[in-house]
Subunit: 317 residues, 2 copies
Amino acid sequence: MYSIGIDLGGTNIVASVVDDKYNIIATSKTPTSAPRTADEIFDDIAMVSQEAVQKAGLTMADIDSVGMGTPGTVNSEGIIEFANNLGFNNVPAKHMLTERLGIERVFIENDANCAALGEAYAGVGNGAKDFVAVTLGTGVGSGIIVDGKIVNGVNFAGGECGHMVIVVDGEQCSCGRKGCWEAYASATALIRQTKMAMEEYPDSYMHQIAEAEGKVSGRTAFDAMRKGDIAGIKVVDQYIKYVACGLINLVNALQPEIICIGGGICNEGETLMKPLRRFVQAERYSIHSKIQTKIVKAELGNDAGVIGAAILGSVKE
Amino acid sequence: MYSIGIDLGGTNIVASVVDDKYNIIATSKTPTSAPRTADEIFDDIAMVSQEAVQKAGLTMADIDSVGMGTPGTVNSEGIIEFANNLGFNNVPAKHMLTERLGIERVFIENDANCAALGEAYAGVGNGAKDFVAVTLGTGVGSGIIVDGKIVNGVNFAGGECGHMVIVVDGEQCSCGRKGCWEAYASATALIRQTKMAMEEYPDSYMHQIAEAEGKVSGRTAFDAMRKGDIAGIKVVDQYIKYVACGLINLVNALQPEIICIGGGICNEGETLMKPLRRFVQAERYSIHSKIQTKIVKAELGNDAGVIGAAILGSVKE
């Protein structure tokens, strides 16, 4: 059998047909063009879903279930309670998809949780039952899998590990709290840390890199570090320490089999992963245990979301 | 049917017969007298277990399963891999109990996890499936229940939420890391914070309280606060903020139905719980959700451990 995985994003709607071995058979997409009414957006979701099924050479009769990842909070009835960047308030997503696609088995879930599920089952997790996915992007996103299932919590708002405070009274976070992991370990935070170091070190090579690129990015300090620039090395060392701090917190609390790290910063590859593993190894509470959490780079990229959404039907029931 | 719950502590071995409604029918106990050989200790564990069964007016044939909570790390084969205060290294606890009691269904688990299970099923949790128990004692202990089961993680060392860093490069923790929640929110930390404030405020009422009691305790600052002592108020306010910080981290990551707080500091009751709830309410990420984590005081006290141990047989299989 096949399922449809949908990633409803702020920019694009992507639908893929996925087989029972987690392979993407066919994909179709269209711009989200938010803000629009939920009805308009769901008409387009149904359209790309049907297109993907056609491209796969299948009909709706071959589809066992439909899963969709969306920004925001989704409750147990498949209602999107609140999704700021889509302008959604209490949108009955499950009902609207069932109606449009004629399929009963429809599952709606937060997009970060779908991505975690995709990596856990079909990506670097290789079926790991206890798994955490962390994304170092504009913010720090995360999804927690325990015993093969997404940890939604009592109000379906679980898994917000980016908003664990690692510095009481620290940097202001976008969520209103001070000192969240996100305020130290996101790409946004790294850029802020890079700019501060550039002010402090006017001779740093980071200035030349930023000028050549036309901006300070999440790569600026890493590139300078590779040239042996002292200020660049300092920024990267401190940033990695902040990322590691949150990872060790997760290890101590949950001891997952695998923590996978995704997002743009991950393109640094082993430059990032090696020192992270060293920190976690040295500082975890379970220092005497033979078995330890593996820290690995995410491997599915943007496909994690649609694959995870397609899997929802098999893990949620 | 009945089960036996055992709490193997550094000081005492307690065994209780528990019925299927989580009532304790009879209890027997004996000093642990560690360090002794594992064989000697397990002979006593078997003895108190049999005594409790006799006191209950039952025989071993009435016992469906035996559960034991122990300090340290227990693996899936029921082997206590490491328990520092008992001097245990790779002690095959499940096997040794089965042999001595003639019962096949024996389950061994970390003691903090047993206490969490007891409160979740038989105590203040009232059957909550997503539950965290936090103990503010000498250290900060915790146990996490997700979907009705203990979160052990890949190496059975999960649930060490006291060792989540809340202040990068902060106070030295006994675990080797700096800035752990335990180093700010334990009774030990509160006593340290109280002593520091007493040095800073030589006229504080805390000096009189400590002199009358013969020592600085976890109550000193709370008692001074109740008398309107400025330094006492400052210590308590800051301490509650630290406790709340870790609680909010747990809420954001797991959104459990209930977080229950136990340990000596909890005797402060609503003096502690009310401001904690206010902090959590104001700072949680899920501020828009209608359903929110309840913050409550533990109610089973020392019984949580034996009841949780007795329940192991019904949740682990």
